[in-house]
Each structure stands twice: as C-alpha cells, then as structure tokens.
C-alpha cells in the first residue's frame, strides 16, 4: 500500500519528481564520469608505459612521476653508461615535449634505432618512420581525433609538421618525432627527459635497478611495474585522493540539498494529507517511513538514470574527444549509487521528522 501511495504521489507531481530524479542522476553522473576521466587517463597512461616494452625508466632525481612535467635535464650520454651495465639490453633516450594545442599530450622526440631496440618497433597502419625534423609519426587514435592522414600537414607546438606515418596506439606517447625535431623547441640537442631501459632478463630488474642507481646517483630509477601500479592505484598518487574526495563531496552535497528541498516542499504541499493519515491512526514512524521511502525511491530512479547518463556521456565525450579515456568502473558505479541513496536519506531526514511532528488538527486545517 505504501508503494502505491508513493508512486501515486510522485505521479501527481511529475515536474518535482523529474527535477529531483535528474538532480540525483546528475550527482551520480558527475561522480562516475569525473572519476572515470581521472582513472581513465591514469589507466591509459599506465597501459602506454607497459606498451613500451621496457622494464625500467630513468628520470632526473627531482622529476615528477608525471613525466610530462619533467624537464629535459639529463645528458643523452647517460644512455651509453647504462648500456655498459650488465643485464641491460637496450636504452632509448626520449626528449619530452608537451603539446597543449587542443589537449595536453606528450610528444616523444627519439632516435628510431634505439626506439626499435627497446620497444620492438611500431605496428604500422600506414606510412613510414620520420626522416626529417618537420616530420611526425602519430598513433591511430591521434590521427582519428585530428582526421589526419599520411601526407597531411598538421599544426603542433605552434609549428607545421607533416604526418608521414600512422601507427597502432600504446607505446609511450601519441606523437613521435626525431630528436632533431624535438630539440628545435628546447634548444638542447643533447639533453633528454627520460630513458626507457630494456633488460636481457626481466627477472633481473632489481639487480639492474640497483646497478643504475649506483652508477647514476642523480637519477630516479623506477621499475615500470611499480609505475603502473602507482598509476592504477588512485590512493598512491599524492593529492589525487583529496581531489576525488572533493569531486564526490560536491555532487553529494547537491544531492542532499535537492532531496531536502524536494521533500521539504512535498511535506508542505501535503500537510493536509499528512493530517488525514494521522487522523486515520498513522503513527509518526509510518509518516517518517513514508517520506524516507519516497526519497529513497527518487534516489533509486536517479541512480538508474545517472548510470545510464554516465555511459551516454562517456560515449559522447569519447566521440568528440577520441584521445580522452573515460574509465567507468563497477566499483565507482556502486560507490556513486550508495552515495546517492545516502544523500536521499540525509536530505529527507529533517523533512520526515517535521512531517511526523505535525499536529493532526493543525495539519487538517491547513489550506
């Protein structure tokens, strides 16, 4: 019977119901999509690190884990020193550039021979390797997002480059150019931002890591597996937890306030109905339960719409921005759903108590 009363009440006020449901859906969508974008970027970055085929990375000692933010401060000659360490099979020095034209993306400046020695080379969709400083190779996702074909001239880092090859995504960056090409932007022909180190035997990673650390004490040597774990475990990244707490708190607050307003308005509108129920012998608990259940039902509808909207938004975003990864996970869908239901319960707490405490005589006289 309560279900019939709740459904009838919601159907009788379609605009209020729709707005409340949409607000909860917005709460769920904001949480799921924003967290999905954060984890998507990190997961995709981790996958591209794994795709390099290297076991170790070597960066400047004070560098950021987000390599785009690191400067090109290491001498390229360090690569030769590393190659002499037992167990090291190949080393590729990478000069890092950040392109902020449209989206923030890393551009790799590298030497094709050492690149091939570490990564095993590109999987080619079309074209060839760059042979001049103004030529670039791009991955298929980047090419798709820019609608670029081999032979096209594209603007990058405020310069025009000719796309000479399109390769399968998944190796470090999305855009690759020669060391000479990258050096043109830094003015440093012999300094790089990161080395990828390929080992003869992946089992010897700890030994080789220690050897590099001893040989090059001013560097930070990272096991790629550790880096991947770091990138895929949000809690390990400094500041990111605070960001995620903020991202979840704001929509949660919106949800609480909207449900509060919605239920508060409802009980004011329905004062007389509450009086009728009280005159029929409905207990305070019955009234509280009725308001709670209505709020929970609105929240549940909002959760369902929110999950649907999240996937729709994911599709829209990745269609408009093909390089953007929105990683919607079941864990965060579950968390967002629980948050939405909790916000419904919190938001309806005071209105339900107010409704239950109304004097039956006064409530019946309410016009």
């Amino acid at each position: 019977m309560k279900k019939q009363m709740i459904v009838a009440g919601l159907r009788a006020r379609p605009v209020r119901t729709a707005v409340s449901v949409m607000a909860v859906a917005l709460e769920v969508t904001l949480i799921v999509v924003i967290i999905g974008m954060v984890t998507g970027i990190l997961t995709e970055k981790a996958a591209r690190q794994m795709g390099m085929g290297a076991e170790l990375t070597v960066q400047p000692s004070n560098s950021s884990m987000l390599m785009e933010l690191s400067g090109n401060t290491m001498s390229v000659k360090l690569a030769d020193q590393m190659r002499q360490i037992p167990g090291v099979k190949a080393v590729v020095p990478i000069q890092l550039q950040i392109n902020t034209d449209g989206a923030v993306e890393t551009v790799f400046g590298m030497d094709p021979d050492s690149w091939n020695a570490v990564t095993g080379g590109f999987t080619w969709h079309s074209g060839r390797m760059f042979a001049a400083p103004d030529e670039i190779v791009v991955d298929n996702v980047w090419a798709g997002s820019k609608r670029a074909k081999v032979g096209d001239t594209v603007s990058l880092l405020n310069h025009n480059f000719k796309v000479v090859g399109i390769v399968e995504q998944g190796k470090g960056a999305r855009v690759y150019m020669s060391m000479e090409g990258a050096s043109a932007f830094t003015g440093q022909t012999d300094h790089v931002g990161i080395f990828y180190v390929k080992l003869n035997n992946p089992e010897s990673v700890k030994t080789v890591k220690k050897a590099i650390e001893q040989r090059l004490p001013d560097t930070r040597v990272t096991d790629v597996n550790d880096l991947v774990t770091l990138l895929t475990s949000v809690g390990n990244i400094p500041g990111l937890n605070a960001f995620i707490n903020g991202v979840t708190f704001v929509p949660l607050s919106i949800g609480v306030l909207v449900i509060f307003l919605s239920m508060y308005t409802t009980i004011t509108e329905r004062t007389r109905e509450i009086g009728i129920l009280r005159s029929l012998g409905a207990s305070k608990g019955f009234i509280v339960g009725l308001i709670f259940q209505e709020a929970a039902f609105i929240s549940l509808l909002g959760v369902i719409f929110g999950i649907g909207t999240s996937f729709l938004l994911q599709r829209i975003l990745t269609t408009i921005f093909p390089t953007l990864i929105v990683d919607i996970t079941m864990a965060w869908i579950a968390k967002a759903s629980v948050f939405a239901i909790i916000s419904g319960i919190i938001g309806s707490f005071y209105p339900s108590l107010k409704a239950a405490s109304q004097d039956p005589v006064e409530a019946l006289a309410y016009e």
Binding site: Q4, A8, E273, R278, L280, G281, V361
Partner: protein, 242 residues
C-alpha cells in the same frame, strides 16, 4: 446500554497570540453504544474542539475523556494514535480523501494503517453496498461528486469497524439532495450495524435524523435530550455543563 464514551468536566484552552481562548469550559457527556447523537451549536461554540478531543486528535486542558474506560487525557502521542487507529473513525466536512489515490486505495490506506484482516472484508462489502459506491471504487476523488466523495469518506472511516464514528459537519459541503442521502445513510448504518455515531453540526435540519441532540453554546452543553439518561442524570441537567 453500555457507555462507550464519557467526558467529565472537559476543558480546552487555546492560545491565540498572547490571549487564552476557552473553547470548552467544562463539558460532561455520556455516549452509549449504538447511539446516533447530534452535537449542535453555532460556529465557535466549541463543538469541533469537542470532536477533536473525543477523536483523540488532541488532549484536553483539563477534565477526563474516557473511551471504553481509557482516559485520553493521560495518553502519550503513540497511545492517542492507537486510539484513532483502533477505535475512532472520522468523517470531515471537506471529505479529506487523499487526492492522488482512487476511492478503493483511500479505503485501503485506512485498512493498511489499521492492519485490517480478511474478517473485515465482508463488513466492508456490506458498507459499500449500503453506501451505493461499489462501482465508484476505481475513481479518484476529482472524478466523484461531493456526495460520492463523502460516501467514500464514510466507507473509509467505517472500514475497520471503529467503536465510534465522529462526523464534523458531514453535510456542510453538500447540496440538499446529497445531504439527505448521506444523513439517511448515517441512520441506516446506525440502525443496521448499531454503529455509534456522533454528528457535529450547526444545521438544525440534521437533528431530525438523530436520536439525541446535544446543544452547545460558548463552550458549554446547554441542553441534552438524552433518551437513556437515568433520573439522577436528568436531575443533573443542565448542571453537567459547568
């Protein structure tokens, strides 16, 4: 006849701003099982306040109200709620049906709150037949005439077999024809089911349908033609209204 409801020296004072308004100034009344009683008086005489107290909607400021021996004045909110649920049925001037529900659902809400069992089903079917609203059950209040709405409200009030039916100006929102229908039904319900009914009204025509008339003025009972009153009770009239 068994006494169902009794008030002794009932007083009710409301605060309107900083002023105390005495709605009831010492009402003593005894209602027996199966009575059809009219409480009549002009607006503001205290009859609605009396009804709210008799229906356990509010507590008296002083005096006693005994429903089947239990004093409402000493009850907490949960106990008052229980009295409303178990022993009292209300019919209001403005029908007070839940507008989003059908007639059937309005009755079912009361049954749900009461925890009605199947034993009540046959009784309800009889009530619906007597009230001639069996075919209106799928309609919402907005799709019913005033008379039909009031009959649904009566069915709702009686659906769980309350000891007392309290009706506050039950014909106040009805035209003459519908008023007659509703009043005849009250009498029929009283005769057929021995339902105790107290009608509160300011309409003198209504009293022709009742067995007993209690008249009120300024918060006091000024006359009571109680046909079952004992000699000692008769002697006390109108002294019962202090």
């Amino acid at each position: 006849m068994k006494t169902l409801l009794e008030t002794i020296g009932l007083r009710k004072t409301y605060k309107v701003g900083k002023i105390d308004v005495e709605a009831l100034r010492g009402v003593s009344l005894r209602v027996r099982e199966g009575e059809l009683t009219a409480v009549m008086g002009p607006s503001g005489c205290g009859k609605s306040s009396l009804m709210h107290i008799l229906g356990a909607m509010t507590k008296p400021t002083a005096g006693k109200v005994l429903i089947e021996g239990s004093d409402i004045g000493t009850m907490n909110d949960a106990e008052l709620t229980s009295v409303r649920r178990e022993r009292v049925g209300f019919v209001f001037q403005k029908f007070n049906l839940l507008p989003t529900l059908t007639a059937r659902q309005n009755i079912d809400v009361a049954r749900y709150i009461h925890g009605a069992t199947k034993a009540h089903d046959a009784y309800l079917a009889e009530i619906l037949q007597l009230l001639m609203i069996e075919d209106k059950m799928g309609r919402k209040p907005s799709e019913l005439s005033g008379g039909e709405q009031q009959r649904v409200a009566i069915a709702r009030a009686l659906s769980c077999k309350p000891a007392i039916l309290l009706a506050d100006e039950p014909t106040g929102s009805l035209d003459t024809r519908n008023s007659e229908i509703v009043l005849n039904m009250f009498r029929e319900l009283n005769r057929k089911f021995r339902q105790t009914i107290i009608l509160v009204t300011h309409n003198p025509e209504l009293v022709t349908y009742t067995d007993r008339l209690v008249e009120m003025r300024d918060g006091l009972v000024v006359s009571d033609n109680d046909p079952w009153a004992t000699e000692s009770e008769l002697e006390r009239q109108p002294a019962r209204s202090v």
